[in-house]
């Protein structure tokens, strides 16, 4: 789950990482109030989860209330690469001597935490990574050992961060690492990490991505779920706890397991069709989950056929079949279904479907994944 900048900064503040005083604002009046509280000059920043805000005119400096009104009015409602701005972050503008880059992620290959740190931060960090990779210090951290202040300071020295910023940088690194680990982040990134003329080091931006698997020990994350960027289909899927990603095609997809779901998209594509969605009902899905999945697919007006691709392991065939029968009683499905059912209790599942007497025009059973894909694509193109 990706956080907006203002949420990331609020999350940083929980771990004592210095950020600029500021507040979120949904209206021009709120923006002015936030600016008055933060103290001029302020920066008015569009809150969207997409890069290139500045170039699109979504970040403006304001010296007084009139300028805040002007900029806030322009930015609210602005469309930045398809993301409409509904919220602003207004913070006190900082004087900047230098810009650095710092992040913590998990290096899946090394199976260790990875610190990346550079004295050449700012908008061009990805270009720096390409043209001058040595300018980015990469340090692996054993999750069992953690990161101490001495190691953090040495990383800052290695990154050629100047003497007067070393202590401040090391301090922020240790706090950012705590945020990353105890805060259950997939990513905790500061770009730029700035050095002020006063010698203070400070997070000017915040990019935080949270590990949804850890939500059970973070009740404070509940508020982030309310602002998550989802389309209507995705929001409905979320209320049913389904792994769903909306796409543009006409074949609705329901599969168990992310791998099989991805593979189903591939096969539909290979036989000339296009998927309307990615939907993984997960392991051990019961009849309720199956019925909910069909409701979500049915909600998508583009869907012309539904391809249910189940290979039972922890998911049992008879539960899938019961779910389909139940859904037919609960939802008026617009599109015909094609099912391929194999694995755990597939026989029982097929029997339940056969006994339910569902007409062939509503549900067709196919013996293989490829045959089912062809059938579903043909139905979608009729």
């Amino acid at each position: 789950m990706d956080l907006f900048e203002y949420q990331g900064k609020q999350y940083f503040a929980r771990f004592d990482i210095p950020v600029s005083p500021g507040d979120k604002a949904d209206t021009v009046d709120e923006a002015v109030a936030a600016a008055e509280a933060a103290g001029y000059p302020v920066v008015v920043k569009a809150q969207v989860q997409v890069g290139g805000r500045g170039k699109a005119g979504g970040i403006k400096l304001a010296d007084n209330a009139d300028e805040v009104r002007l900029h806030a009015g322009n930015i609210l409602g602005m469309d930045i690469k398809g993301h409409v701005v509904h919220r602003l972050w207004v913070e006190h503008a900082s004087d900047i001597d230098e810009e650095y880059y710092a992040s913590f992620t998990l290096d899946r290959a090394a199976k260790k935490h990875l610190l990346m740190l550079s004295a050449q931060g700012g908008v061009e960090i990805e270009a720096v990574a390409e043209s001058d990779p040595d300018a980015i210090v990469k340090l692996h951290i054993d999750p069992v050992v953690g990161l101490d202040a001495g190691t953090a300071r040495q990383a800052a020295v290695d990154a050629k961060i100047p003497e007067r910023a070393l202590d401040g940088t090391a301090d922020i690194l240790v706090k950012l690492y705590r945020c990353f680990t105890e805060g259950d982040c997939d990513l905790a990134e500061i770009n730029p990490l700035i050095l002020k003329p006063t010698g203070e080091v400070h997070a000017l931006d915040a990019k935080v991505s949270l590990d949804a698997n850890a939500a059970f020990r973070h009740p404070e994350w509940a508020e982030y779920a309310e602002t998550e960027v989802l389309d209507e289909r995705e929001r409905l899927a979320k209320t049913h706890d389904l792994q769903y990603i909306g796409l543009d095609g006409t074949v609705g997809i329901i599969a168990n397991g992310a791998g099989l779901a991805m593979s189903t998209l591939d096969v539909v594509n290979q036989v000339g069709g296009s998927a309307a969605n990615f939907l993984d009902i997960g392991g051990g899905a019961n009849a309720d989950v199956m019925a909910a999945a069909l409701e979500v697919i049915n909600f998508d007006q583009n869907v012309k056929s539904i391809f249910i691709n189940i290979f039972g392991g922890i998911t049992r065939g008879e539960e899938v079949a019961k779910g389909i029968v139940e859904a037919l009683g609960r939802v008026d499905l617009r599109a015909p279904m094609v099912i391929r059912l194999d694995g755990t209790n597939a026989e029982e599942g097929r029997q339940i479907l056969a006994d339910a007497g569902i007409p062939e025009s509503k549900l067709r059973s196919e013996p293989t994944m490829l045959a089912a894909a062809r059938s579903a694509v043909a139905l979608a193109q009729n």
Binding site: K112, E126, D211, G259, L260, M262, D266, N269
Partner: protein, 299 residues
């Protein structure tokens, strides 16, 4: 032969008294797996259909001589359960649990590495392992796996995706090809056992004659496996990578771009494997057909 588990493997089930643990643990026993005990704190002395329950893994191991564990407990409890099995000296731990926080997985993996180097973890979030006809630990439906034949050729399977693991077993069975061992390594960020661990074992196993590998988009495990195959695997291989047409995942800030350096796409993985001499199919069925051709050539 087989890899990691065989007909002599003695298995305990952590969470045998829970819903999933009971269902799959008993199915594993029905398959012929030596399920010798269950572990549930506070339920020691009870039994589940004749399988004795112990309070701790250490007690279960002492009483039964178990050398493998099947961890089927919820995400909150799974990290501690894995480490408890390792501390009790269990050499092979299979964890099917889905939804363990990545920070916990990283901590468990590195704790095993430093404190319990003799314990191999398979998973988490994996379907488990089956050496057909000998031992099935996890959630794979045993009947879809064809046992190996004495004369061969037999195929080893290693897969990152659960359901595609079943698909691969099924494709081979349809074609009458036996499987030495099928390992589902799981798709989580920090798998205890990776492609390379399995490829090394399959290469050394005299009863495995060819290998199918199934990967998916994200990370760089397939690219690393391709590099390993080039220098270390002499047995013929076919592969399939899921996600050629998958929606692009959310990019994780600049850090993601810097770490991956262009790796992680399905096409990049397929190219890397093809470069290493692996026959790459565009869907699971095609990978199965390519393997059938390989096997026909070996016969």
């Amino acid at each position: 032969m087989s890899i990691f588990v065989n007909e002599n493997t003695k298995v305990i089930v952590q969470g045998l008294t829970g819903g999933q643990g009971k269902y799959h643990g008993l199915r594993n026993r029905d398959y012929g797996t030596n399920v010798v005990a269950g572990v549930t704190p506070g339920k020691g002395g009870q039994d589940v259909e004749g399988i004795p329950i112990f309070d701790t893994v250490a007690e279960a191991v002492a009483a039964t001589g178990a050398d493998a564990s099947f961890v089927a407990v919820p995400p909150k409890a799974a990290p501690a359960a894995i480490l408890e099995a390792a501390a009790a000296g269990v050499g092979f731990v299979v964890c099917i649990t889905e939804g363990i926080p990545a920070q916990d997985e990283a901590r468990v993996f590195n704790t095993l590495l430093s404190d319990y180097p003799n314990t191999r973890l398979l998973g988490p979030n994996c379907p488990g392992i089956i050496s057909p006809g000998k031992c099935n630990i996890g959630i794979t439906a045993g009947e879809i796996a064809m046992p190996p034949s004495a004369e061969g050729p037999n195929v080893g399977i290693v897969s990152r995706s659960g359901t595609l693991t079943y698909q691969a077993l099924y494709e081979l069975k349809q074609k009458g090809i036996g499987v030495s061992t099928c390992v589902g390594i799981g798709g989580d960020p920090v798998p205890g056992t990776n492609f390379i661990d399995c490829l090394r074992e399959f290469e050394a196993d005299p009863d495995t004659h060819a290998i199918i590998m199934i990967g998916e988009i994200g990370g760089s495990a397939e690219e690393e496996a391709a590099e390993f195959i080039r220098g270390n695997v002499s047995k013929p291989m076919s592969a399939y990578i899921a996600g050629v047409t998958a929606p692009a995942g959310k990019k994780m800030g600049h850090a993601g771009a810097i770490v991956s350096g262009g790796k992680g796409t399905a096409q990049g993985k397929m190219d890397a494997l093809a470069d290493a001499g692996v026959k790459v199919g565009l869907n699971p069925t095609e990978a199965g057909e390519l393997m059938a051709q390989i096997v026909a050539g070996l016969r």
